[in-house]
């Protein structure tokens, strides 16, 4: 018989109901609102709409090394001399013989006077960074798939997944990667991904006093990068390796490696 069941008195039921249900409704609506807001935020940035690249004007670079310094500050790159996401190289081209290339501390402390005794034809600075290749050799060799080309054309490393085998470090012909001594994973330039996805420019571009670095969209005619490419004769580094890099150099001669 149904009479055996314990009954909740109507008064108690209504009391509990009026107390608990609004609380629950409130909680649900807060969660839904948070969800909605994040969705909104994500909706503001659609990676499919972007394909990033960088231009570098060698004529403008004065070798101050502020880019390398800013990069270390922004991205938690170890301060030791072997770890860089970006660095500046100096080329001293003599009239005869091989060019001398150096990059003491990535150019952060400036460059000591060149000691070469040969007659110098010309010297210039070349800022280097990850070339964010479309056909990235580092991506192919990663055994666990921790490094990848993102949909917005940036080569990234998944820190949670990288096992630290260093194969990508060897495979990169631009020397753009290093093993992070604390994280034990591969690390490299991300074009300051955390900044660019918010519409800001990378730290190195931000601090460059001569605007030698130009950041922007590869595919958008109105982007500063495309304007730079129209105004200058640009080259990419080591094109014969078929890596399809996306860092374009203006004023680079055949000596630049």
């Amino acid at each position: 018989m149904k009479e055996d069941k314990p009954k909740i008195p109507r008064r108690d039921f209504l009391k509990t109901f009026t107390e608990k249900v609004p609380k629950l409704a409130m909680a649900i609506s807060v969660l839904a609102a948070a969800d909605f807001l994040t969705a909104q935020e994500n909706g503001a940035y659609n990676p499919e709409e972007h394909n990033y690249g960088m231009g570098i004007d060698i004529h403008k670079c004065i070798g101050c090394g502020r880019c390398a310094d800013a990069c270390k500050n922004e991205n938690d790159v170890p301060r030791e001399h072997n770890f860089f996401r970006t660095w500046v190289e100096r080329y001293v081209v003599p009239v005869e013989g091989e060019a001398i290339v150096d990059s003491p501390n990535g150019g952060i402390d400036g460059f000591p006077e060149s000691k070469t005794e040969a007659e110098v034809l010309r010297t210039y600075f070349v800022p280097k960074l990850c070339n964010h290749c479309t056909n990235a050799p580092c991506v192919q060799v990663c055994p666990v798939g921790a490094t990848f080309v993102s949909r917005d054309g940036v080569v990234l490393v998944d820190e949670g997944y990288c096992v630290g085998c260093r194969y990508c470090i060897q495979a990169c012909p631009y020397g753009a990667r290093y093993l992070h001594p604390e994280k034990h994973t591969a690390d490299k330039c991300t074009f300051c991904y955390h900044r660019i996805t918010k519409g800001l420019s990378p730290a190195c571009v931000e601090v460059c006093p001569t605007s030698a670095r130009i950041f922007g969209e590869v595919g958008l005619r109105s982007s500063p990068l495309r304007r730079f490419a129209r105004a200058n004769d640009t080259v990419v580094l080591k094109p014969w390796l078929n890596t399809k890099p996306k860092v374009y150099y203006a004023g680079a001669d055949g000596e630049v490696r």
Partner: protein, 466 residues
């Protein structure tokens, strides 16, 4: 074959032992008390192995920075040692499988411990790719394990091909070795006097009693396994070479790498078989079983593969010049004249120049000479990998980043320790398992030949003449 008396070769097994004598001579090694030397040796080797495990422990704690790696040189001794040990692990399966299929009967005296050596060398090799990663605790990400992240390994990466190639090689070699051991384990079981030996060997011999049907199945299984192993001999080191050949580093990105690596692997593997067999035959008085004839043939193979390796060294230079690629040309000139030239010339001397001594029959038959040469070859082969890995990386595409690589204490201790591990396993093997395949050696005795007549030595198997 002509039956003229000039062509009579020394028999494969000397002293014309009876079947019973072979059984007792070889079984007794594992049955009687081990010689004092064995205890001395294993205490040294196991201490070295312990040193390796200590080094690995410190490595896990501290990270790969304890090695002499620096920024352009991200792969150092760990990868060199990996390739070195995989290379040594080549001879075993070559001797067991390919020489078996080619009906080379002289393999019978050396195949058992060559196979064991293969397994132990591959074990040593497998240590290195595991420990050389920065985060050892997640090295299992390289295996295709189902996981909640739905992440799979990257099948385009040669490092992953390595996981499969070396893993398969190890598994098949282990099966091959074990199947070959079964009749001999049964022999040991039947001779066992203690309960424990009877029990353990009884399980390992899986009920072998030597019936006709068993032999038929056994021989078929052995043939099939030999067939499966044969392509593996070539594939493992080919795949290892793609670790280098697939990435575009100058000096690595070369199409000759797979055959070049396979030749080098066979070269170093046979050298290691030589070193160990000279020690074993001396230590256990097995001169009648591992005869000069066996050793001379190993020497001929080393001469051949040594010249193949030498050819590869020279063709690399030719292609570097012929391709007109300045980076490639620079790398090779830098190898021979740059900061690591000493390593390059050790390699050339040990791998190309020294084996030429085997052109002379006298030197091919001199135990001290071949012992020294076999060790020098492995020194040279280690340096070959050193030259490939280090000289290409230290002076790579970016002159501004060039650096000099030198090992630290931990590099050396891990490498020396891996020798400790290898020799410990080998000593345990010669103590507890039949080190010569008794059943197979009996098969090459003249009495086993159905056409055998006592006193008639001319009826030897026809393809055994050269």
């Amino acid at each position: 074959m002509s039956s003229s008396t000039e062509h009579i070769e020394e028999p494969l097994i000397k002293g014309n032992p009876s079947f019973g004598k072979i059984t007792s001579v070889i079984s007794r090694i594992s049955e009687k008390k081990a010689p004092r030397m064995w205890y001395v040796a294993i205490s040294i080797t196991s201490s070295l192995a312990a040193l390796m495990f200590v080094s690995i422990g410190y490595l896990v704690w501290e990270g790969v920075g304890i090695w002499g790696l620096n920024n352009p040189v991200g792969w150092g001794w760990a990868i060199i040692n990996f390739v070195f040990w995989v290379g040594i692990g080549h001879a075993g399966t070559l001797i067991s499988a390919i020489l078996f299929l080619l009906r080379q009967k002289w393999r019978t005296s050396i195949n058992r411990f060559a196979e064991a050596m293969t397994l132990f060398a591959v074990m040593c090799a497998l240590v290195f790719p595991g420990i050389h990663v920065g985060r050892i605790w997640i090295a299992y990400y390289m295996f295709p394990l189902p996981n909640q992240m739905d992440m799979w390994p990257n099948f385009r990466s040669p490092l992953l091909w390595d996981v499969f190639a070396v893993g398969t090689y190890f598994t098949v070699s282990l099966m091959f070795w074990y199947v070959g051991l079964i009749p001999d384990l049964a022999t040991l079981r039947d001779r066992a006097t203690t309960k424990l030996r009877k029990f353990v060997l009884g399980i390992l011999a899986v009920g072998w009693h030597g019936g006709n049907r068993q032999w038929k199945h056994y021989e078929l299984a052995y043939l099939i396994l030999a067939g499966i192993s044969t392509p593996l001999v070539l594939s493992v080191h080919s795949v290892v070479s793609t670790d280098f050949a697939v990435s575009i580093v100058p000096g690595w990105h070369t199409t000759i790498f797979p055959p070049y690596f396979v030749a080098g692997a066979i070269f170093s593997g046979f050298a290691m078989v030589m070193t160990l067999s000279i020690i074993v035959r001396k230590l256990f008085a097995l001169e009648d079983y591992i005869t000069l004839r066996h050793l001379e043939r190993i020497n001929k193979i080393m001469l051949l593969t040594g010249m193949m390796v030498g050819y590869a060294y020279s063709i690399e230079f030719f292609i570097a010049w012929y391709s007109g690629n300045i980076y490639e040309a620079f790398t090779f000139i830098n190898r021979a004249t740059g900061p690591y030239a000493w390593g390059y010339w050790i390699m050339i001397t040990c791998n190309v120049v020294v084996p030429q001594m085997f052109w002379f029959k006298k030197l091919r038959n001199s135990i001290p000479v071949m012992f020294v040469i076999s060790i020098l070859i492995n020194v040279g082969m280690w340096f070959e990998r050193f030259v490939i890995v280090v000289s290409s990386l230290a002076n790579d595409f970016l002159p501004a980043a060039w650096d000099y690589y030198s090992p630290t204490f931990w590099d050396i201790s891990t490498f020396v320790g891996s020798f400790g591990l290898f020799l410990t396993l080998f000593l345990l093997f010669i103590r507890f398992a039949p080190i010569i395949a008794m059943s197979e050696v009996k098969g090459v005795l003249p009495e086993a030949d159905p056409h055998h007549h006592a006193q008639d030595h001319d009826h030897k198997e026809p393809n055994d003449g050269h």
